[in-house]
């Protein structure tokens, strides 16, 4: 099957029901997308499919065909950072950092739709992503900073 990941078409030979997460990590060797719970509970595996934030552990490769997929590795790079990544760096959000790929992907999809979010909207949007290290106060601050950059205010 063909998968369109980070702007590249990949041909993979996998079962249609293999979760997208494991195709990304073990077949395409794109390791920025993390395995946390495998059950849609933690958000560590979040990617964008057609711009929507999706849990890649909970969508099959078969269902992810024919749609552009963006992972953290395609959102931006250390040299060319997405505004959300830049805010995350400026606010030094990460502790262990393991949840942060997913946090950033959730925030990027959310801000694309909600350029001027209220505090309550930020809390709602980000509460599906667990951070065991408890970086929530910095996540809130970084989302607000990224919103400001993205909306050009």
């Amino acid at each position: 099957m063909e998968l369109n990941v980070d702007g590249t078409i990949h041909v993979v030979d996998v079962e249609a029901d293999m979760p997208l997460l494991w195709v990304l990590r073990d077949e395409l060797k794109l390791k920025g997308t993390k395995y946390g719970c495998g059950a849609g509970l933690c958000g560590a595996c979040t990617v964008h499919i057609k711009g929507e934030a999706v849990r890649s552990c909970s969508i099959s490769a078969g269902d992810a065909q024919n749609a552009p997929i963006t992972t953290i590795n395609g959102l931006g790079t250390p040299a060319a950072r997405h505004a959300v990544q830049a805010a995350w760096i400026e606010h030094q959000v990460a502790q262990c950092g393991y949840c942060q790929s997913g946090q950033i992907m959730t925030a990027a999809a959310f801000l694309a739709k909600t350029p001027n979010p209220t505090d309550a909207e930020i809390d709602d949007a980000m509460s599906g992503n667990l951070c065991r290290c408890g970086t929530y106060p910095r996540i809130r601050a970084a989302v607000k900073a990224a919103a400001t950059t993205l909306s050009g205010n």
């Binding site: 059950a39 590795n73 262990c96």
Partner: protein, 760 residues
């Protein structure tokens, strides 16, 4: 006095003859490496092993570097595992501060396990002396504990000790490197050392000519290192105490950091395991016929108490492991949770007395005849469950094993891998990896033993073993289960008597028994957070009882105080309310300890204690000293119609010295979130011998929408250097329970609190 374990006072000019830093064990020295030089410590006692064995000659077998300089570049060795605390950056900053290096001018490496990197600060916490007791007895006992740590070759990261341990050692290493490089520049130019300066990785001559360190490395290698060095006055620090961009922050924000679970090698296969969900129970039988036929499955291996599946993809290995049916033996502990609680409840006896830690006044007399206030408190098993599941990559050949894993105790990982593979210790090479959290989980080593067993059976093959989240949850040795039965009296508006009886399973004993050893004497951790309260209550007694191990338990972020401080501080709050006193004023009245007063007074000011919050709102305060760091917290809650909302938390911590203020604030906030979240809604329970919580939906802790505003103040007046990873955890739960009482009149004496009240 042992200068290696006792952080220096912040005197203006700290003269640190490097040779005296570790006179028991270390000498600073240098060795030649390819085209350059390495600075570090020679062990002068029995060498344990040499992490640079592959690069160095046999006569240099005991050398352990902190700094390596070659014509190609500078590498700083940061031996404490980075489990998310930013410790790699912090350690690098300490070396770079003295060496006059800028961020960006060096690489960091975690090094390989070596007894010479052992963590001396940790040992100081295993013996029962008040944190400010540096008397002769305290020091000598600390030294015995130090010796134990050295024997274990722990190089461990735990007990919030990384900062303490590193603070003098690493700055000294940097200073020695700097002075030796200046000496090399003198030899080359003839310009006396006193006229030479250093900045940005170069020696600077009086005419402003710069000689980069990398060009002096070859010359420096020929010198004996300059060990008579003066550490910089804190007023000159460029890096310490300043906001720094953590070295890992860009990779962690762009998905480009490689964690242990991300490792990939050519030809690597993937393993999943199923181990008896009744911890320690035998595998009696299994049927893998279905799994064998599944796509990508390469092998099914029998491993102790379980089975491993080797496949060409992690998910395929998981799926096949799930398709195996098993018959398991009986758990070697009571199968059901009620029986665990019953055993704890039966432990308040003379026979199980671990120790009476303090007794002031006459508690028994005070309790007879007076109106006695009594209660029972409980703290359940709780899981660590860092977000990155446990993993290990292994390759075993006939003569050697290579192991890549994220460990808080790589020395123990190495030892266990050697035992399982039957290889000599020095032929087992451990490469410590970045960890997606730990909280104590990676002090354990069962996953290392499983990986080693898989490697032993699949010689020559590189294999990455990954725990599924469910496997990880159901084999996570949780925090100790604990119970308290306190009694007390009040008189004339004051707390008169506090008699704390605490029964708990000892995490230290459980861990030591897994290591095949035992600790003599009472376990301080059962009492920590309670016995060391700085309150002058007229009749005050703290007694602990050792519950025999039920299911295995393990060190969980902050260890003993995570349960004992909850019991002690909440019961004190009960007494204060019974006396009709103000919770903050009465705590302050009861203590003349300057540090306790300072953090309590600070947090009272920050929270505007005493001002009205309005109806259905309340404040609670709690104080605990954890691993030497005193912390006070005030929690504010709102009792909404749908449940409790935690609105604000104020934290004051006496930490001595803050290396990186941003990282400091982040970790204090994280500790508060950890303490509150688990107190709100987490417990591990057993049924039929198995852990009942396989994933985060039933062990959720805090979500972002529940996270209060957390206002942090670090106080830097003490002369000691203290850790901060764990100390914010213990006061969080009691401060929350005390706030809930203030807002609702309901006293909650059992974690998780959501058994008794809703949270929104």
């Amino acid at each position: 006095m042992d200068t290696a374990t006792t952080p220096e006072p912040s005197s203006p000019k700290t003269r640190s003859k490097a040779r005296t830093i570790g006179r028991r064990a270390f000498l600073v020295s240098s060795v030649v490496i390819a085209g350059g030089v390495a600075f570090g410590y020679y062990t002068v006692k029995k060498p344990h092993l040499n992490p640079l064995r592959d690069q160095l000659g046999p006569d240099e077998a005991t050398f352990n570097p902190w700094v390596k300089i070659s014509p190609k570049g500078i590498t700083l060795i940061t031996p404490h595992a980075d489990i998310g605390q930013g410790v790699a950056s912090m350690q690098a900053a300490l070396i770079a501060e003295e060496m006059d290096l800028d961020f960006g001018q060096f690489e960091i490496s975690q090094g390989t396990p070596s007894a010479a990197y052992y963590n001396t600060a940790l040992a100081g916490e295993t013996v029962p002396f008040l944190r400010n007791d540096h008397g002769i007895v305290a020091e000598s006992v600390r030294t015995i504990a130090d010796a134990m740590v050295k024997v274990m070759g722990m190089q461990s990261t735990g007990g919030s000790s990384s900062t303490i341990d590193s603070f003098v050692k690493l700055r000294t290493a940097g200073a020695v490197a700097r002075e030796t490089l200046k000496e090399a520049a003198f030899k080359r130019t003839g310009i006396p050392v006193r006229d030479l300066r250093t900045a940005s990785g170069a020696v600077i001559l009086p005419d402003a000519t710069k000689i980069p360190y990398t060009q002096l490395a070859g010359d420096a290698a020929k010198l004996s290192p300059v060990t008579d060095v003066v550490l910089r006055d804190p007023s000159q620090w460029r890096l310490i105490g300043k906001k720094m961009e953590r070295l890992d922050i860009v990779p962690k924000s762009t998905g480009t950091l490689t964690y242990g679970i991300d490792l990939d090698f050519k030809g690597m296969l993937y393993a999943a395991v199923k181990v008896s969900p009744r911890i320690g129970a035998a595998r009696l039988g299994y049927d893998a016929s279905k799994a064998k036929a599944m796509r990508g499955v390469k092998a099914i291996l029998e491993i102790p108490n379980g089975v491993a599946v080797i496949a060409d993809n992690t998910w395929r290995a998981f799926q096949a492991a799930d398709a195996i049916t098993f018959t398991w033996g009986k758990a070697p502990y009571p199968p059901d949770q009620d029986a665990h609680w019953a055993e704890v409840g039966r432990s308040f006896t003379k026979e199980r007395l671990d120790k009476e830690w303090r007794h002031e006044g006459d508690v028994d007399r005070a309790l007879s005849g007076a109106k006695v206030i009594e209660a029972e408190y409980r703290a359940p098993y709780v899981a660590h469950q860092p977000l990155e599941p446990l993993s290990a990559v292994i390759k075993v050949t006939d003569g050697r094993a290579d192991l890549w894993t994220a460990s808080q105790a790589p020395g123990i990982a190495q030892q266990k891998a050697a035992e399982v593979t039957g290889l000599p210790l020095e032929n087992v090479h451990v490469y410590n990896q970045y960890a997606g959290g730990s909280f104590g989980h990676r002090l354990e080593f069962d996953h290392v033993k499983l990986a080693a067993e898989i490697g032993r059976q699949m010689k020559g093959q590189v294999i990455k073993m990954t725990f599924s989240r469910e496997e990880d949850f159901t084999h996570d040795y949780p925090r100790q289960i604990a119970m308290a039965r306190p009694r007390g009296t009040v008189k004339n508006g004051r707390v008169e008597t506090c008699d704390l009886h605490i029964a708990a399973v000892s995490a230290a004993r459980s861990y030591m028994s897994r290591l095949g050893t035992s600790i003599p004497g009472a376990d301080l951790m059962l009492a920590a957070g309670a016995w060391d309260l700085p309150y002058k209550i007229p009749n005050f007694r703290v007694t602990t009882y050792a519950v025999p191990e039920l299911a295995p338990v393990s060190s969980w972020r902050s260890v003993g105080p995570s349960t004992s401080a909850f019991f002690a501080d909440c019961f004190l709050d009960e007494l204060i309310h019974a006396a009709g006193a103000d919770p903050m004023e009465e705590r302050l009245r009861l203590t003349d300890d300057p540090e306790a007063r300072r953090v309590l007074e600070t947090v009272a000011r920050m929270s505007n204690w005493g001002s009205s919050l309005g109806p259905n709102r309340g404040r609670g305060v709690a104080f605990a000293t954890t691993l030497g760091t005193p912390v006070a917290e005030v929690v504010e809650v709102w009792n909404t119609p749908d449940g409790i909302q935690i609105e604000k938390v104020y934290v004051a911590a006496e930490v001595g010295r803050i290396v990186d203020p941003v990282n400091f604030e982040n970790h204090v906030q994280g500790g508060v979130v950890w303490g509150l979240g688990h107190a709100m809604n987490c417990e591990i329970t057993y049924a039929d011998g198995m852990i009942q919580q396989p994933n985060y939906h039933v062990h959720e802790a805090m979500r972002l929408r529940q996270c209060p505003e957390i206002i942090v103040k670090g106080i830097e007046t003490s002369a000691e250097i203290r850790g901060i990873g764990e100390p914010p955890v213990p006061p969080a739960a009691p401060a929350l329970a005390n706030a809930i009482f203030a807002a609702t009149g309901k006293r909650i004496r059992e974690m998780p609190f959501n058994k008794h009240i809703n949270f929104v």
